[in-house]
Amino acid sequence: MKNTKNILLVGVGGQGTILVSKILSTGLMEAGYDVKMSEIHGMAQRGGSVSTQVRYGEKVHSPIIGLGEADILVSFETMETLRWLEYLKPEGIVVINDYEIPSAPILLGNLDYPQGVIKLIEEKADTKVIKAAEKAEEIGNQRVMNVVLLGALVKSMDLMDIDWEEVIKNSVREEFVEMNLIAFNVGVDSVTSYEESYSVN
């Protein structure tokens, strides 16, 4: 692969974006890609907006990207998608978790949670909407919604030849492996690949 691919994961502090980017970058490295991953700690952890970037390809230089450079934007929270959408290439893919976390000004009643975010994004970009929180709850733990989104992400990026189950096994505590594997597969199944959707149409 000549061109470097750029993945941007966004969400709210505490949603588990870092675990997903860790699994993702480990899998990509083991598949032989050069990989760089960048995250921000500190202040942002306290319920603030967080972002993680994963870049992979033959040779990766910068650990971070700028506006209009992400091939895929995976948003763990609905409104965060809009905050980061300008980082997406116009032809890029959006994977959006249909899950709202009101921020401080909204909790205080000073601002309203924006309406119609998903519809707006669907009009602007190739969008896949995942109800990851609902699916995670069905599996038995809301916290695994991050791994549901990981499944949707790797399917969307055509990265299914990597042995993700092995990477997941090595990345989470033993008692949570099974639940995370289920979550991953639920995520994969929630996305129809380009070829699949093409053949259906």
């Binding site: 709210v12 502090g13 970058s25 480990t26 490295m29 050069d34 990989v35 760089k36 991953m37 960048s38 995250e39 921000i40 700690h41 500190g42 202040m43 942002a44 952890q45 306290r46 319920g47 603030g48 907006s49 990766v60 230089h61 910068s62 650990p63 971070i64 990207i65 700028g66 506006l67 209009g68 450079e69 409104m79 965060e80 809009l82 905050r83 959408l85 300008e86 980082y87 997406l88 290439k89 116009p90 009101p102 921020s103 401080a104 000004p105 909204i106 909790l107 205080l108 009643g109 601002l111 309203d112 949670y113 924006p114 707006l120 602007k124 970009a125 809301q142």
Partner: protein, 590 residues
């Protein structure tokens, strides 16, 4: 073996491989994980110091005693440690010594974005700048060799992107380095004026030798491509330059950036038509290159504010912007960081913010957020420990001006041990009259839960003596001390009223663990388990928003029905909202 590592993990691995014997640091984003990772190597004595100055001084002692030594801090931590750092510029080393300065362009978690490369030049020590994790690891060994060969402290300058980005690192083995013998040598290690005067001459000579080294070392190398454009760059900015120019430019990549390799730079500049210097923050290299009479383009195009990325470099130089999706961004609500649900700081600030005619000085930690809406409690944040001393100075001036305003300083436990103790001594010594509130959440929370002298554990989690704050405060000369549970609002109010009524300096210790802290047995014994939740009886709720104004992220005011609601996923049952509700609409869940 190949492994993905952050720059911080790679520095730790590098310290292990370089045979480091001793390491000391104070936590500070983005440097914290360096010592946390070094703690895993049993070959290295690794310690949390109470502050950066102590960390550097301990490291200096270890270095003089003959050990390979490492110390690490965030950029502003070096301000605290500047005193021993500058002296190290004169004395040089015995065992090799490396100081990691982790700068924070973009102020992700800091009060400024100072460029610490100027510190290396000012203190006359050598400087290395890695540009990825592999270099972070390799350059620790290289820095140790340089340190011992040239008898100089080596500063490794990192930035947030380097510290917290992962890239692939090839791990190696540890090289055991014997501890050097210590020989008493006052002419070198005792900087009395007569000795220091001679040492200054030695330092200038060393800098000449280091400049020669800088011109020869392969840490500074040229990549020839098209010679129309030449780029001089260092650190993570080099990666941004590579991203933007690719193979369409030649590069002089600098890994050893003080003293700069001016001969090499001259030769490179002569060969290329247009020369760019691409560096993050200040024109540190550009100024020196221009002073040497070499034409180059730098900060007249590339901003010296905030963090760079390839996009900004491209836009600055080529005036090229990527296509982006256009939409109305104004509908996106802000998402500022907030104190966690159940945070004891919120409970304390909630009560304190009711006080009238008061100036509240704040400090560095999670509780910096006490200045944010809706609490809006603190007036100031300057630097570690400043709350206590600033309150003292401000109170003196208000008194001079016949203003009865009360001064309340708020400072965390770790920050109090860091530099609040000497400030409190100032209050006592100079007959001050301030109220110092020590928000003791039993851990260094902001940087991710590091132990400190008050927690009872070392960096490695071994049991240590617990330094209790109350006897320390009394020993410093404060006669009026009260310890309270901030989640008990009645007790908190009474303590504040008591302190306001005094005509002497007082201390209130607000003692309750961080809601995210993993409780120790002693915590469990003292505070009991964290359990329960609260809910709003919406039949009773009158929609007055008092609970909402605590700023708890678990409480949501539902505009449509004008009632509050509590998220049971987030609520930890601290019961602050329950105490502020005027109609008892908030109840404890079963």
């Amino acid at each position: 073996m190949k492994r993905l590592m952050t720059g911080n993990e790679a520095i730790a691995q590098g310290a292990f491989e370089a045979g480091v014997h001793y390491a000391s640091a104070y936590p500070g984003t983005p440097s914290t994980e360096i010592l946390e990772n070094i703690a895993g190597y049993k070959e290295i004595i690794a310690e949390w110091a109470p502050n950066e100055k102590v960390a550097v001084e301990s490291a200096v002692g270890a270095c003089y005693a003959g050990a390979r030594t490492l110390t690490a801090m965030k950029h502003v931590g070096l301000n605290v440690a500047a005193d021993p750092f500058f002296t190290m510029g004169y004395t040089g080393v015995n065992g090799g010594m490396v100081l990691i300065s982790a700068d924070d362009p973009g102020l992700h978690s800091s009060q400024n974005e100072q460029d610490n490369r100027y510190y290396a030049k000012m203190a006359k020590v050598a400087m290395i700048e890695p540009s990825n994790s592999q270099e972070c690891k390799d350059m620790v060994s290289k820095a140790m060799e340089i340190s011992e060969k040239y008898d100089v402290l080596v500063m490794i300058r990192m930035t947030t992107r380097l510290c917290h980005s992962k890239s692939i690192v090839e791990e190696g083995n540890r090289t055991e380095v014997p501890i050097k013998p210590y020989v008493k040598n006052p002419a070198k290690y005792n900087v009395s004026p007569a000795n220091a005067k001679q040492l200054h001459l030695v330092v200038e000579k060393k800098l000449k030798e280091l400049e020669k080294f800088s011109n020869e070392t392969d840490l500074n190398y040229i990549e020839w491509n098209d010679k129309k454009v030449g780029v001089i760059s260092a650190g993570v900015a080099y990666q941004y330059a590579k991203e933007v120019f690719g193979d369409n430019a030649s590069y002089l990549k600098l890994g050893f950036t003080f003293p700069l390799p001016m001969e090499k730079i001259k030769k490179f500049a002569e060969e290329v038509e247009t020369l760019y210097v691409i560096e993050e923050l200040e024109p540190f290299m550009e100024e020196q290159i221009k002073a040497a009479g070499i034409n180059c383009i730098g900060k007249d195009k590339i901003p010296n504010t905030w963090e760079l990325n390839p996009d900004i470099v491209k836009k600055s130089i080529f005036d090229h912007e990527n296509d982006t999706i256009k939409y109305d961004k104004s509908i996106v609500a802000g998402r500022p960081p907030t104190l966690c649900a159940g945070c004891p700081h919120r409970a304390f600030y909630y009560q304190l913010s009711k006080k009238k005619d008061t100036m509240i000085t704040g400090d560095i930690g999670c509780y910096t957020l006490g200045g944010a809406p809706p609490l809006n409690a603190t007036d100031t944040v300057v630097c570690m420990g400043a709350s206590v001393s600033m309150a003292h100075g401000a109170k003196k001036v208000f008194e001079l001006n016949n203003d009865k305003k009360r001064l309340v300083a708020t400072i965390g436990d770790s920050t109090f041990f860091h530099s609040g103790m000497t400030s409190l001594l100032d209050v006592v010594f100079n007959k001050g009259n301030t109220i110092t509130c020590i928000l003791d959440n039993r851990i260094t929370a902001m940087t991710g839960h590091q132990d400190n002298p008050g927690t009872g554990y070392t960096l490695q989690g071994e049991e240590a003596k617990i330094v209790e704050i109350e006897p320390v405060v009394r020993a410093l000369g404060i006669n009026h001390v009260r310890a309270i549970n901030p989640l008990d609002q009645k007790e908190t109010k009474e303590a504040l009223d008591w302190a306001y009524a005094l005509d002497d300096p007082s201390v209130i210790i607000s003692r309750y663990p961080c809601v995210l802290k993993k409780y120790t047995d002693l915590d469990l014994e003292e505070f009991g388990p964290v359990e329960g939740y609260c809910y709003v009886d919406q039949e009773v709720c009158i929609g007055c928003k008092k609970c909402v104004r605590t700023g708890c992220p678990a409480i949501h005011f539902m505009k449509a029905i004008k009632k509050s609601s509590i998220s049971q996923v987030q609520c930890v049952g601290c019961e602050l909202c329950l105490q502020v509700c005027p109609v008892s609409a908030i109840k404890v869940g079963e």
